[in-house]
């Protein structure tokens, strides 16, 4: 699974996105994401307390995860992390993604809340196609999905370009 930044509420979560980028540089993106959800977003949602999403709480979470706080702060404020977030959003904009949740399953878009069964159906179908292709998993996305897929949004009313 690949996570692409889509900052829908920049006024309250831009710091978290920068911290996610910085945590990734220390190899702990997923740990940070999960901890942020448990220790920042859930308490924020329960108490409507924006401070839970702030830098103070984020640094506490980072410390608990064993992240280097000085390095984290430096990376959070670096142009690299700002560019990482902007690049993600620019790439998603090519496909008209402007809301969460939106997923691409081997390039097949699923936007909005869908039933678990529908999700599983798409994954199973893509798994079947990938297995039948004979292309190794490590190469499948690059050699099949990315190499042969469409590089920008196309609506159901627009015919596919040859």
């Amino acid at each position: 699974m690949v996570f692409k930044n889509l900052v829908v509420h920049p006024q309250i979560v831009m710091v978290a996105h920068k911290a996610g980028c910085a945590a990734a540089k220390q190899g702990k993106f997923v740990a940070f994401k999960n901890a942020f959800w448990d220790k920042a977003f859930d308490p924020y949602a329960a108490a409507h307390d924006p401070s839970k999403l702030g830098e103070g709480n984020i640094m506490t979470i980072a410390k608990d995860l064993g992240l280097d706080p000085a390095r984290l702060t430096a990376d959070m404020n670096s142009p690299g992390c700002a560019a990482r977030i902007e690049d993600d959003m620019a790439e998603l904009a090519k496909f008209h993604v402007n809301a969460t949740p939106t997923f691409f399953i081997n390039g097949k878009i699923i936007d909005g809340a869908v039933a678990k069964e529908e999700f599983k159906k798409v994954i199973d179908e893509q798994l079947r196609l990938a297995e039948a292709s004979g292309v190794p998993g490590a190469d499948y996305y690059d050699k099949v999905v990315f190499a042969k897929g469409e590089r920008q949004f196309r609506s159901k009313k627009t015919p596919k370009q040859p």
């Binding site: 699974m1 889509l6 829908v8 979560v13 997923v30 390039g107």
Partner: protein, 111 residues
């Protein structure tokens, strides 16, 4: 042919000619005043129906335009979109095996 039969045949012929010529007997409400009233009522009913049909036509046009807009903005479910994930993978914004045959890209928001 006797005289009675001739008179009966003549009466039937006159009656038939009268029918062909439009000489109907007057309708039950056949006075000019009643015709005017009925015509007015029919015109009112027609106007009401025309108004309703015009409203329905507008609703239909609106819904058609909305559906076309949705279709224009709705991604083709058959399309495979080539989202560039190289930098995300390099940056470590990933979870799961790099050998996986299925790659799920999630547009992610911390809020």
């Amino acid at each position: 042919m006797n005289v009675i039969n001739r008179r009966a045949m003549l009466a039937a012929a006159i009656s038939g000619l009268a029918a062909l010529g439009g000489c109907h007997p007057p309708p039950p409400h056949g006075t000019p005043a009643n015709h005017e009233e009925r015509l007015a009522r029919l015109e009112q009913a027609y106007a009401r129906n025309a108004e309703a049909l015009e409203f329905l036509r507008k609703v239909y046009e609106q819904q058609k335009a909305q559906q076309e807009a949705r279709d224009t903005d709705e991604p083709d479910p058959d399309a495979t979109f080539a989202v560039n994930i190289a930098e995300d993978v390099k940056a470590g914004q990933v979870d799961g095996s790099p050998q996986a045959l299925v790659t799920i890209v999630e547009a992610w928001d911390f809020g």
